[in-house]
Amino acid sequence: SQQGEEDPQALSIQEGENATMNCSYKTSINNLQWYRQNSGRGLVHLILIRSNEREKHSGRLRVTLDTSKKSSSLLITASRAADTASYFCAPKAAGNKLTFGGGTRVLVKP
């Protein structure tokens, strides 16, 4: 199965700043998904980007995918305190399995 590795492991920013985190993976994928986990809660799906897409936007989120480098990035613009959470990428090959890396812990300070 495929598993992404997020970088950095932790990120601390001021409210209003942008937050960028990266994901690297090892083998070919059909799509790559990003999830958010607030403390004590389950993961919530944020955005999915397909292997034939290079960039996707959803509200304040921007995701890029570079299949030649086997990497993706998630940008959160104009961060808010409510964006404080852990963010996980999940590169997905054909089939049903979805596995996750260690995540990036983001702290947005008011």
Binding site: G42, K92, K97, T99, F100, G101
Partner: protein, 113 residues
């Protein structure tokens, strides 16, 4: 608002006891996943089902863990006997084959003393 429901939310038990965790997937979803989350190991995939059939449980310790779907509205994860190293948060997630995203429950926080 459709959601995945997990019970119990918290469970404290003693080593050697049987633990059963339950999950009600979103109505109509036909894939169910069990994950375990710890600080040290992160999120580990334990088992997953499609149309109630187990597809992969390679992530699960076979001697003590078992996962079943008695019907389409219930998935169970049992640990017997439980051990302190099983202490973790166990998440259930469901999805619809062909729609890639998963919906997670709030988890069962298990403490084995």
């Amino acid at each position: 608002d459709a959601r995945v429901t997990q019970t119990p939310r918290h469970k404290v038990t003693e080593m050697g006891q049987e633990v059963t965790m339950r999950c009600q997937p979103i109505l109509g979803h036909n894939t169910v996943f069990w994950y375990r989350q710890t600080m040290m190991q992160g999120l580990e995939l334990l088992a997953y089902f499609r149309n109630r059939a187990p597809l992969d449980d390679s992530g699960m310790p076979k001697d003590r863990f078992s996962a079943e779907m008695p019907d389409a509205t219930l998935a169970t994860l049992k640990i017997q006997p439980s051990e302190p190293r099983d202490s973790a948060v166990y998440f259930c997630a469901s999805g619809l084959e062909g729609n890639e995203k998963l919906f997670f429950g709030s988890g069962t926080q298990l403490s084995v003393l």
